[in-house]
Structure formats: C-alpha cells, structure tokens
Subunit: 555 residues, 2 copies
C-alpha cells in the first residue's frame, strides 16, 4: 500500500498542487490553477508600473481546485490514494505580505476593501516602496548595522517592512483596519489548519529571515524601538502582532480542518507543515544538503546553499541572507541570486531578435563555438545585480565587438556573463566557509540547455547536476508534508528517498576551464570597476588580452 503527501506551490501567476508518493517522490497527481485576477494573475495599476498585487480570493479558490484535481488524478491509478495522504506542505512567493484583521481574515476578502489594491497581497515583485526601502536602509545603517549585515547590506523595496511603511503612508484606511500583516507563506498554512488568530499565527523563518529582519541573534523580529522610529510609531501595532519565534518546514503548524478535508477529499486531521518560500523548497525538492548547492534557474536565479549549524558561518557580504534553518532544518540557509538570467536570453532572442534566429538555433550555433574564440566579454547586469553587489542601478555591457561579431557569438557571451555572475556568488560563499562541492540545477533552462549547463560547468569548474523533477518547488513542499506526516525522521532521509537527479550531467572540460579562468579574471575586473567604489586601475590591457585569448582559442 503506497502512502502520499501533498504539496501546494503558490507561484507568481498560478498555484500548483501535487500528490507525491513518499517512497520515491514520484508525482502521482498534479494540477495547476491560473489566478483569474488582473494580468496573468497580477493586479496592476496602469498609472504606476511598480504596483504588483494579488487577490487572496484567488489563492483560496486555487487550493480547492488544484488539490481536488491532483488527488483525483492520483486516485485514478491508486483508488486508495486519498485516504493515504499523510501530510501537506506549502511554498509561496515572498515577501508577499497580506493585511489581515485580528482573526487573520484578509482585508481584501471583506466587501469594504474588495476593490482596494492596497488591501490585497503585496506581491514579491511590487516595487512601490523603493523610497521606504532606502529610508529603512539608512536608519538601520545608523542604529542596527547588524540587521543589514544579514541581508547583504541593503534593505529591499520587495520586502516586508518597506511595504508596510509604504501602505501606512499612502492608504491609512487600509493600514489602520489591518491588525497585522501576514506573509502568504504563513497565511496559507493558517487557512488550511484554521489557526488564523493573528496573535497565535505561526510565522516561518524562511520568509521572516532578512526579508522581515528576523534573526535569533537579536531575539527574532527587529527591535520595537527601531520599528517605532518610522513616522511616529506608525508601524508599532504591526510589530507588536508578531511572535518572538519562528517555525521551520519541519514543524507542524496544525492539522487540516474538517471543512478543507471535505472540500478537497483529503483526510481531515493530517498535519500541515510550516510554509516556506518557493525557491527554498525548490532547493529541498532538488536534494539540497551541505556540499550541494542548488541553483533555481528561471528568468532570474535563486542560489541556495546550506551548512551544518555546527559550522561557523557568519554574515557574508553581499549575500542575503544567512539564517538558521531558513532552507533546511538543522542547517544554516544561505540564499543569493542573480537579477536576470533567462530574462537576458529572452531579451536577446525576443526583443533584439538577431537575424530572426530562434532560441534553439542560437543555442545550437553558440554550442559550436570555442570559449574565448569570439573575443567578447559581457556583464550580466541588464536587470541590475542582486548578489554580490545588491545594486539595481547597474546595467549590462558587451565588450570586444568587431565588424565580424555574430549573433551566436554575442548570445554565447551573454550566457558566459551569467556564468561569471554565478561564479562570483559561488566564490563569495566559499570564501566565507560555505561548503560547495557540486551544484544541482533546477528549472527549464537547466533541463533544456546543454549550452548553458556546459558553460556553467566550465566557468565554475564544478560538475553541474540537474534535478530530475520538473516541479522541484512543489516536490519540496510535498517532502515537508511527508516529514511532518512522520514518514521520515528528518529531511536528509526524506530527500534521499524522494528526490533524484537527471541522468544527464555536465563535467568541466579542462581546456575550457583554463580559458574561462582567464576570461573570468577580466570579468572580475570590470565587475569591480563598474560595480564597486574600491577598484581604480587602467584597463588598457583588457581588449588586448581578449584578442590574445581569441587568437589562441582559434588556433
């Protein structure tokens, strides 16, 4: 008799439910629900491109529809399936805070606020609070530099306190009606378990750490006085609604209510795990463990690593953030990312449209080229740089162009630039003691592009493995469901059983590694030159060195 767990994966445009066999991680049932609201599920404001909100009603509708459909699919091959689901896990986007009343009801679900964008969930990519983020950064620099040290040095407009302060300043009615703000990753488990009362609502470390300035080192969320220092204490009520501790994905935050069991046909009373952010559970679903970094590669990347709690991992400059148990219980979680990867390739293929070549043709043509043979070098900052510079006001560069530069050569240079960016992150983590022996990649690019993966292997001089699951985030959520359901005593056992790697993997090619080492040292110079204050040196030799490398690569 098989046993199963359920995973709920709330993405930017849709929610997916999976029913997973706990023995091997095989997905027995899967269903997707596209949020009906707004533009591809995102509520926007034509007058302000920074606005990105979501209707909590869409989340609620999605739970019932996807869980029911996924379970139905799983039951078609195993009629006993429904009764043998032993737990549920949840991942969501974040920081995506939702204003709620004291009972934990989302304001947006009330008639009074149902048409008010400010009462909706403030989606992770909402950038309206950029001024507030800058203010919070300045204030923390002065009063609590340790807060910034944990989040890479700069507080972001995408994060919790920036969004609360922005709402407080622009929509007092909503802000005063809210007893507090709950991350989507906490709100969904609360809804499923009925444990919504704000004063007792569990908060997960994954969404709280650095995004809400939570860290055990200073007793959890930031100091009351610090939060009260903005706008005469306007945020104090929200701060007071927060607990002093946080849960992990190994914690049971409650059990499925009879009502949700009835709606979905799942067994009532099964445990629900603490929530987490989607990329983090993508790491779990890809088999993250000490020594194995996970790169979740999409339009941007999330780069995840873990280290034993016994190791002495301190703050890592430019890396946001380092927090105990934020990814994998029992380990430090280290999270970084590149602001654009797939987005750069998409820009080149779809916006610049060189020679009308398709993505596939460019991949194919670029794969025929030798490292260094184009003489090109690029900086992958088309959407700024998240790690390690934490600077959105950086831009992309292509250097080394000649009258002979081809579309495929430029494409390859852009791919290489993202690989150099990835190496900056990996190197920085290693410098600060994070063990990384191999890298597991997940996402469509990892599975579809031998060009990208071989270049990454060569540039990082590290084997590139590919997560077998196409739904690593949802699988990660289901793994947490399996653990709280008691199928495994810890995540190490659970991921060993439930995750696997693709048969295809990529090994560094010594000759390419050597060439890319030379190119990376040039990349690193331009990186420091344009991206930091600290580096001043003439660059007369950069173009010459690229030509030398080009000539030797072509021989």
């Amino acid at each position: 008799m098989s046993r199963y767990s359920a995973g709920l994966d709330f993405g930017t445009n849709s929610v997916r439910a999976v029913i997973v066999n706990i023995a091997d991680g095989e997905i027995a049932g899967s269903a997707v629900f596209n949020y009906p609201g707004g533009e591809m599920g995102v509520l926007i404001d034509p007058s302000d491109p920074n606005v990105a909100r979501q209707n909590p009603a869409d989340y609620i509708a999605g739970i019932e529809i996807t869980l029911t459909a996924a379970l139905k699919q799983a039951c078609s091959s195993d009629p006993d399936c429904a009764a043998n689901v032993i737990g549920i896990g949840v991942d969501t986007t974040g920081s995506t805070p939702i204003p709620v009343d004291t009972a934990g009801n989302a304001l947006a679900l009330k008639d009074e606020f149902k048409d008010n964008l400010n009462a909706m969930a403030w989606l992770w990519k909402d950038h309206t609070a950029y001024r507030e983020a800058a203010e919070i950064t300045v204030a923390a620099q002065a009063a609590h530099p340790e807060y910034l040290a944990k989040c890479g040095g700069v507080y972001s407009s995408e994060w919790y306190w920036s969004k609360l302060l922005k709402c407080a300043r622009t929509d007092r009615r909503v802000f005063e009606a809210a007893a507090g703000w709950v991350e989507l990753a906490d709100w969904i488990p609360a809804v499923l378990t009925g444990n919504t009362v704000l004063s007792q609502l569990p908060r997960c470390i994954c969404a709280a750490a650095h995004k809400a300035m939570f860290h055990p080192a200073w007793g959890g969320y930031p100091d009351h006085d610090f939060i009260a220092s903005f706008d005469n204490g306007i945020l104090s009520k929200a701060r007071s609604s927060l607990p002093d501790t946080a849960v992990t994905i190994a914690d049971t935050v409650g059990v499925l209510t009879t009502e949700w069991a009835r709606k979905t046909a799942l067994p009532p009373g099964i445990p629900v795990a603490g929530g987490a952010l989607d990329a983090h559970l993508g790491g779990v679903g890809s088999g993250i463990r000490p020594g194995s970094m996970v790169k979740v590669i999409g339009t941007s990347t999330c780069d995840l690593a873990v280290a034993p709690l016994s190791s002495s991992i301190n703050d890592i400059p430019g890396v946001c953030g380092v927090a105990p148990e934020s990814i994998l219980p029992g380990t430090y979680g280290i999270e970084a990312g590149q602001s654009a990867v797939g987005d750069i390739f998409n820009w080149y293929v779809h916006k610049l449209q060189p020679s009308g070549m398709s993505h596939a043709v460019l991949d194919q043509e670029a794969l025929k080229l030798q490292p260094g043979a184009s003489g090109l070098l690029a900086l992958d900052w088309h959407n700024g740089n998240r790690t390690i510079l934490a600077d959105q006001q950086l831009t992309g560069v292509i250097l080394g162009l000649t009258l002979h530069s081809t579309p495929a050569e430029i494409f390859r240079a852009l791919v290489e630039a993202t690989a150099f960016g990835a190496r900056m992150i990996r190197d920085r983590m290693q410098e600060y003691g994070v063990p990384i022996e191999r890298i597991i990649n997940c996402g469509g690019i990892a599975q579809k592009s031998p060009l990208v993966m071989q270049i990454y292997a060569d540039v990082l001089n590290c084997p590139m493995l590919i997560a077998a699951s196409e739904q690593a985030c949802a699988l990660g959520a289901a793994i947490s469901g399996a653990v709280v359901g008691g199928a495994y005593s810890d995540f190490d056992q659970a991921t060993s059983a439930m995750t696997s790697l693709d048969d295809v993997n990529y090994t560094p090619i010594a000759k390419n590694v050597e060439t890319y080492d030379r190119l990376f040292s040039l990349y690193r110079r331009l990186h420091d030159l344009f991206g930091t204050h600290g580096y001043a040196e003439n660059q007369y030799d950069v173009m010459k060195e690229l030509i030398v490398i080009r000539e030797s690569s072509r021989r």
Copy 2:
C-alpha cells in the same frame, strides 16, 4: 563657349572619369569601370586574408574606357566639349605602391610576372606587412622619433616601406626585378604624360607624406642610413630611386601624350596635375579651406583640415599626419580618420540584423528618440581606432543595456559613438591650433541620413554642411585639372567656383548639445580607460550617471 576639365578617380573597386564644366563644377559626363580582376577588383589569396592586390592592367584599361565614355556623354549636350578640355587631374587609393622597372613599366604587365600577386599593385588595404610595420615603428622610435611624430606615432602595415620590406622578404625575384616602387597616385599621371622613367618620375607629397615618411623638415624621404638598417640594406636600391622633392596638385607633371589623346579623344598636350589620394581630393571637391573641415564619410571616415602655412601647426599626437600642401597647395594638410563608421552601421543592420529592421527603418525609429533617453553608451572601435589612438587592437563596447533596450536605441547609441569619435578628432585638432569653424560632410551617409547628421551637429556643437557633389573625389581631381589648365590662379578661386553645398544642413540644438556634453564626458573616460595607458579611475558612477541622464531625458 564652355570649358572643361577631366578628373580620374581610382577607387578600391572601380575607376571613375568625369568631365566637369570649369565655370560651376557641374559634371557634364561621367563613367565608371569596375576592375575586372579578382573579387570586386581586388586580387586575394584564399590562404591569407591579409592579401589585397590589384592588377595595373585594370587601371590602364579603365583610363581609356571611362575617359572615352565620360567625354562622349559630355559631348552629347555640347558637341565642342572634347576640344575644350583644358587639363586633367588624378586621385587614387594609397598607399598603393607598384613595383616597376627603370623605365617605369609595372612588373605585373610583363609576361614573366603576370600571374605573380607580389608583382601587382599592393592595395592600400593589404595587411600582410603587419610585422614589418611593427619593426619599422620600433626602429624609428629609437633612431628617428621625428618620423613617427608626423604619422601619429605608429607606422602602419598599410604603408609604403612596410610593403616594400615585406616583398623583399617573401619574394626576392620580384623585389630584385623592381628598380623601384611607385605609388598609384604617381604612376597614373606618369602613364598619361609618358614621363615614366623612374629616375625622373614625379612623386606627390600627398601619398609620400607620412605614408612613405616624407617631410621637408628632414629633406624629403627618410634618411638613407635608416632605410639601409633593415635586412642589410635590402631597401637601399628602392630608396635611391626616390627624388628629394615632391609635387602638389597645383603642379603640372607633364602633358597628355598623343597616344592617350588618340585613345580618349581628349586634346593632346593638355596639362596633367600631380596626383593625390582620393579622400584628399574629396576634401578639395567638398570645398575644404582654412576653417572648414571636411569629413569624407563612408565605411570609414577620412577627416581633413587645412591651416595656413603661416600658422604654427606642429605635430598633433595621434593625428597622421600633418604635412605642407598634402591636401591644398599653400596650406598645411591635416589628415585623420575613424577606422569604421558606415561599417559599424552595416555590421549592425546586416550582420546582427536586429528584428529584421532595414537601415531605413532603424534610421527612422532612432530619429524619434531623445539624446540620452536610452541610457546607452557605446565605443565605436569595432575596427580599432585610427585617430587619435592609432590602435587596431581596440574593440567595440555597448554599455548601459537593460531588459528594455530596443534595436533602435542600440542603433542610435552606435551612431552617437561614431559622433563622439568624430568629436575626439575635431577636439584634438583644435587643441593643436587647427582652425575649425564648420564641417562639410561628403559621402552617401551625409547625403542620406538626417539621423547621423543631426547627431553629429549636436555632439560636435558645430553646423554640419553637406557637399553637394555626389562625386567629390572625382570633382576634386577635375578641379586640379582646371587649375593646372590655367582656368584659375589658385585653389581658393577654383573651389569657390566649382564646389557647392547642399541646400540641406544641420544646426546644433541647444538642449541636445547639453545632453551630449554629459554623455561625451563619459565616453571620454571610457576612451581613456580602455584606449590609453594613462587613466586609472574607478567607474562606479558611469552607470549611475547614464541612468540619471536617462531619467531626465525621458521627463
């Protein structure tokens, strides 16, 4: 009764003859002959992309065919035309030296050498002698730095002595059979006048100055000992065949032979002017004079200026070269250029092919954009940098790319980069005392692209005028024919009468000038950073400043 002069214009792929009315410069007849040899008239070697030669037989064939046809066309509206042609002028590519025997016959015309590429004319763009050029530069740095000072600091593989040394080393049979080497610009007038005997063959200052290290300051061609220092005096015979003085386009080097008169139907005995390089006579045909710089804009540019001989113009670092009467008799000639202009636009449109947009559509779309609004900045070094860096090992850069950068924005940034490159040249000349109050542009881009011309006006903060003639080089040759034919006492009178400007011109727009001043200061920093040894400074503010300019331009 109208009087006429003839101009012969030997380009890279074809020769053109024009018959011009000396009263107003109107072209009464014109004909083109495409050289039949090789690929588009250029003899190449599949095993060495540096080889570019030309068959002197093609030149000879072209004279008869084009002059006859041009004259026939002119006579169709004025039956008395042929008898009223009073002089002939000649311009050619260069440095394009031809190995000849003591009688001035090209070796390539002899049976013995007719299939030997090394016995042909070594076309200006032949780059086989790059090692020899480097050697000559090093030797001159040690022994005669003054030679290099006149040619911008670096002796080129495209020039006379490099080519001779290369031939001496690779084809002794040809080299020993040659009594000397004659520039195409000298050989054509010699052929037309029958004055081919090598020991008395006139050499023009235009081709000799800097390209053959000729300057009156050291008595003409370079010192015999210096030339003898290469390969045990192998070049001494060639050096000894050269005269001590040089002619200008105001000098008559002989009269048309009876035989050529018979072949072409021109009057025998009419004077033939000293030759000159094509771009230089393009300057004359565009109305160059002190204060009026001429930009000959094609795939690359030639930037020409003149200054009174009474002015104290010294060597201009990075500018090759400065020589008395090399462009306009009675003035210093100052010659500079950009290695690629039209070639960069062609690369972008035809090689990169963004969105399949035509040149015309890109022009149109880019014209709608505001200066600075893209946030992009480029370096126009796709084919190296001739002036003021004299460095072929520089490459193109595009900086400031975002996920929103469009094909038209990048195109405009490339055009702006060529404008900034043009400003570097103009500024350098002005710094060293060359008077430049207005700029006359000639060539197809000048006549067809309001985008390019308005950007040049704004970036250089200088009115951009357009030469009316579409055949400025051939017209310039005809003007020299008119002067030696006695129609005008000097070139000032001749160009006043025979050249004119297009009705269209471009005036700087104050707001754009201001924005481009800000962008140019960033261009200049990157120029010095990558193109010189001297400049070391962190560039953290470059991308930020581009964003500031972008935001203010979009307001």
